[in-house]
């Protein structure tokens, strides 16, 4: 919100006493204090990215635990592990968690952390809104989970079909928690989407044209557009359901003449773009990982970009393939069946282009690469079962069976989760300065790979043998027993592999520093130190190429073969490890780089939202309190300058995309010019020194 920051730098009317005693207490604006408090008020996209990731992984453990309980119940016919009521809560929360609280935030985390680094920016477009998004997501998730302690979690499945989700059939508060919780996280996604889109479009370094952006940035951008347009649709659905449940409206009350298919349409108009929101960034991740470890550029970059955009577009025209058995009429069924099939075309382009990238490369199978190739191979399986679904008449045999469950776990786990793990192993050294152990990582990968296939492979079979999903139990004699047992064993293998990963993370702190560019990376994030400084780059990069960093490191000989340059310059001060092989540091004064200051408002506003929601369920007083926090917080955020004029301008500064005013701007610009000039000088002299050393 731009109602802001015209406050002139503080000047005392009295003119004396330059040093004002800083008042104590929470009401002052936070400064960049170290320790845990800095995490609460940070607006640094990197810290926020890390928090997203950590939170999402915690939710993954929760969602996984729920899955394990589900599998325990289904291990044998007539399972007695769980009550049906509990079972229903578990699969609902499992699906909701995995989709909304694991993969979406995980990918938001990657996007947050990486987009500015990859496009050469100092931060995202609206750093404080970024923090806001994170907190909203976190509190939304906690709100949703609090339902377990407040009378039972939602229990009508992750798409909560009306009228089962209406008050008449789900009288408890479970569904209310679901409705309100998703509205809250929806706000987070929407704000995040606006923020990241503006970042991608507006914050690129000089020369970083759209067609020089790394594929991850592209795919994240497409996904954010999908979010931007899909979130309001589910918001409508959730609002209608909420008014039905809380205020007696009639949107899904069949007795009043309502049509439950309205819910299905609204949900899936959101739901299908949503699945591409879940997969596209993962595609982006592997599109950056595979070239790095094949040591050659991505095959057909423009096609990759375009197919991503095409998937994004086509994803809007297929939603009713989730309703082939709902009775939408043959014309609709035929139309949606057709449109669904053809989404395989742009996806196929991606698969083949990845194979083209592998082709005649020099593949090193790091764990990141294993997961990336794992994605390519496993997602294909899920995609192919998707195409089988798209054959509408036969989908009436497949829908709501374990065949669908197999399909979406292959695309979600074999696709998104594999992509996420690939990204985790790939960027870990960038984020924390040291690698995860490759050795343990390989154990992790193979265990997970085996467990995954053992869990979800047999689901294809039981699905076609007629086992419906969402059944808390099944009788003997259906021919499903063996497969279900195998699936359960497989799921515990996955759990084991997850523990291996946790172990890897825990002990990774002892690993040696990995250096700024441990994988010989291609994109700009590798050109700065690991972990990057708060301001990302000491020198703002100017981009001349796709894969800019690679081009800065490699030249070509006459035959077109790349040869490593003698010298190249990192974009910020790096560590010893990175300086071998011709790497140089820029010599610049970074003290004049100003980043936005931390702020309390994001977390205050975000806390208000669950309060409002609890209030709607229990007492309006809470809502009033929450409302005051939200409205006050929003205005407070608006009135607060994004750069604290009272904070010392020593270690961080303003670059939040637009200066506070022309005056300050000039200084910013000056600083940059000076900085760059100095950097260049340093390069020159450094070069000489370097060659001297070598000689």
């Amino acid at each position: 919100m731009a109602l802001t920051e015209e406050r002139p730098p503080l000047e005392l009317t009295s003119g004396e006493e330059a040093v004002v005693r800083k008042p104590l207490g929470v009401f002052t604006r936070p400064s960049d204090s170290p320790g845990w408090r800095s995490w609460l008020t940070t607006v640094d996209h990197k810290k926020i990215g890390i928090m997203y990731g950590a939170t999402a992984m915690a939710f993954f453990a929760l969602g996984g635990l729920e899955a394990l309980l589900i599998r325990a119940q289904l291990a044998q016919p007539n399972g007695q592990v769980l009550d049906p009521q509990v079972y229903n809560q578990l699969f609902t929360m499992h699906g909701t968690t995995m989709v909304f609280l694991v993969i979406m935030p995980m990918l938001a985390g990657f996007a947050n952390y990486l987009i500015p680094l990859m496009i050469g920016a100092r931060d995202v477009a609206y750093p404080r809104l970024n923090a806001f998004s994170y907190w909203v997501f976190l509190f939304g998730g906690l709100f949703l989970y609090s339902s377990f302690f407040l009378g039972g979690a939602p229990d009508s499945g992750w798409f909560n079909y009306a009228p089962q989700s209406g008050v008449a059939y789900s009288p408890g508060h479970g569904i209310d928690f679901w409705v309100l919780g998703l509205q809250i996280t929806g706000i987070a996604s929407l704000v995040g989407a606006v923020n990241l889109i503006v970042t991608c479009l507006n914050m690129r370094a000089p020369g970083m044209t759209l067609l020089r952006m790394p594929v991850f940035v592209w795919m994240a951008l497409v996904a954010q557009f999908l979010l931007l347009f899909a979130i309001p649709v589910i918001t409508v659905a959730l609002f209608l359901l909420m008014f039905d449940r809380l205020y007696g409206a009639n949107f899904f009350v069949v007795e009043a003449g309502a049509d439950p298919l309205l819910w299905q349409h609204l949900f899936w108009i959101f739901g299908h773009p949503e699945v591409y929101i879940l997969i596209l960034p993962a595609f982006g991740i592997v599109s950056d990982v595979i070239p790095t470890f094949s040591r050659k550029p991505l095959f057909g970059y423009p096609f990759m970009v375009f197919s991503g955009i095409a998937i994004g577009f086509m994803g809007w025209g297929v939603w009713a393939h989730h309703m082939f058995a709902s009775g939408v009429g043959p014309v609709s069924v035929a139309a949606f069946s057709l449109s669904t099939m053809f989404i395989a075309v742009p996806t196929g382009v991606k698969i083949f282009n990845w194979i083209g990238t592998l082709w005649r490369g020099k593949l090193s199978f790091t764990v990141a690469m294993l997961f990336a190739v794992g994605l390519v191979s496993q997602f294909t399986i899920g995609g192919l079962s998707g195409v089988m679904h798209s054959v509408a008449p036969h989908d009436t045999q497949q829908t709501d069976t374990y065949f669908v469950v197999a399909h979406f776990h292959y695309v979600l786990f074999g696709g998104s989760m594999f992509g996420i793990f690939s990204g985790i192993y790939y960027w870990w050294p960038k984020i924390f300065g040291h690698k995860l152990s490759e050795r343990i990582g390989k154990v992790h990968f193979w265990l997970m790979f085996a467990g995954f296939n053992l869990t979800f492979g047999p689901m294809h079979i039981v699905g076609l043998q007629g086992m419906p999903r969402r059944t808390a139990t099944y009788p003997e004699g259906m021919g499903w027993d063996l497969m279900n047992l195998l699936e359960t064993i497989g799921s515990f293998l996955i759990a084991l592999s997850f523990l291996v990963w946790v172990y890897n993370v825990v002990r990774s702190r002892k690993n040696p520093h990995a250096g700024a560019d441990p994988w010989d990376g291609r994109t700009l994030e590798w050109a700065t130190s690991s972990p990057p400084p708060v301001h990302n780059f000491d020198v703002e990069p100017t981009v001349g190429h796709l894969d800019e960093w690679w081009h800065r490191k490699y030249d070509e000989d006459e035959s077109g073969r790349p040869v490593r340059r003698e010298h190249y310059e990192f974009l910020s001060a790096v560590d010893e490890v990175s300086l071998g092989r011709g790497g140089r540091e820029p010599q610049v004064d970074t003290s004049s780089i100003h980043l936005p200051s931390p702020s309390y408002w994001p977390i205050v506003i975000a806390l208000g939202l669950p309060l409002i929601s609890y209030g709607l369920l229990y007492t309006y007083w809470l809502s009033a309190l929450g409302g005051i926090m939200v409205v006050g917080g929003v205005v407070g955020l608006g009135l607060e300058p994004s750069v604290d004029p009272e904070a010392g301008h020593d270690d961080h500064g303003h670059d939040d995309g637009h200066g506070p005013g022309p005056g300050t701007d000039a200084t910013g610009e000056e600083a940059e010019l000076v900085g760059v000039g100095a950097g260049d000088g340093a390069t020159a002299s450094g070069d000489r020194a370097g060659s001297g050393e070598r000689a």
């Binding site: 004396e16 005693r21 009401f27 706000i187 704000v191 609002f239 809380l246 205020y247 506003i605 939202l609």
Partner: protein, 276 residues
């Protein structure tokens, strides 16, 4: 110079007067209680005036004439702060009346008390924060503006909307359309007038504003008292479940749409925020 102490006593006066009036009305003319309350008010008045003439406890007075140092300079905000005792008293009064009459007034009283409490606390915290009054003022503003600005605007909008809609409801159907046209034209007309005549005197402006406000509020009150026009029920079938609309005579519109608005408000501002 109206100082802190006197303000408190004037608060008591207000309490007494209002209490007396309310008691009179509520009890249907019972004299003793009314007299007690009225005399409380008189006593408060005397004490307040005394307090002013004796100027006790006035820091500014004590500092008068002394060289003004940063530490001693009278905090700018105090001008404002001194109103809080009075509002506290008012709140208490309203509460008392509310207790006596039973009903919504009690909550209004609580609200006033609550607001006073918060404002006063923040105010005094800010005043003791630093030696510099301007800084202190800023500190206060930083915390309170985010709440005050929207709250005040909201209240303003709500009052205007309420008043105007009462007027519309009181008039016959065609009449409300005409009035709506007239009001809108007047607003637009005044806008045009003001912008085409850059030299409209500020007193004329003030007159206009006051006239408008008085007209709106007065009209609203009159209309509310006069009650709504007759509406004919359009119900075709038997009314299944329409209980909630009854009960609330004073609310804006009926219960149900209000409920909608209420629910909307929660996430909507945040969405608005997302864009800007």
């Amino acid at each position: 110079m109206v100082n802190t102490g006197s303000r408190f006593w004037f608060g008591v006066v207000a309490l007494g007067v209002i209490g007396a009036l309310a008691y009179l009305l509520a009890s249907g003319g019972e004299p003793y209680g009314t007299l007690v309350l009225a005399f409380t008010a008189v006593a408060g008045l005397i004490l307040g005036v005394t307090s002013i003439t004796l100027r006790d406890g006035d820091v500014a007075l004590a500092a008068d004439g002394a060289p003004s140092t940063a530490a001693e300079r009278r905090p700018v905000a105090t001008r404002f702060a001194a109103a809080w005792p009075a509002t506290a008293a008012l709140g208490a009064a309203v509460c008392a009346v509310g207790l006596a009459t039973g009903g919504a007034l009690l909550y209004v009283g609580f609200a006033i008390l609550g607001i006073t409490l918060v404002e006063w606390m923040v105010q005094s915290w800010a005043e003791r924060s630093t030696a510099d009054a301007t800084v202190n003022q800023r500190l206060r503003n930083r915390i309170m503006y985010p709440v005050e600005i929207p709250a005040l605007s909201l209240i303003g909008i709500a009052v205007a909307v309420l008043a105007f809609s009462r007027i519309l409801l009181a008039l016959p159907k065609a009449g409300s359309t005409v009035v709506a046209i007239v009001v809108a034209s007047v607003i637009l007309g005044v806008g045009v007038l003001l912008s085409s005549r850059p030299r409209v005197s500020s007193s004329l402006l003030a007159v206009l504003v006051v006239l408008g406000a008085v007209g709106l509020l007065g009209g609203g009150i009159v209309a509310a008292v006069a009650g709504e026009r007759e509406f004919e029920e359009h119900a075709e079938e038997g009314h299944a479940e329409e209980g909630p609309e009854e009960g609330s005579g004073s609310g804006p519109g009926a219960e149900a749409p209000e409920g909608t608005g209420h629910a909307d408000e929660a996430p909507a501002p945040a969405q608005g925020q997302g864009g800007g």
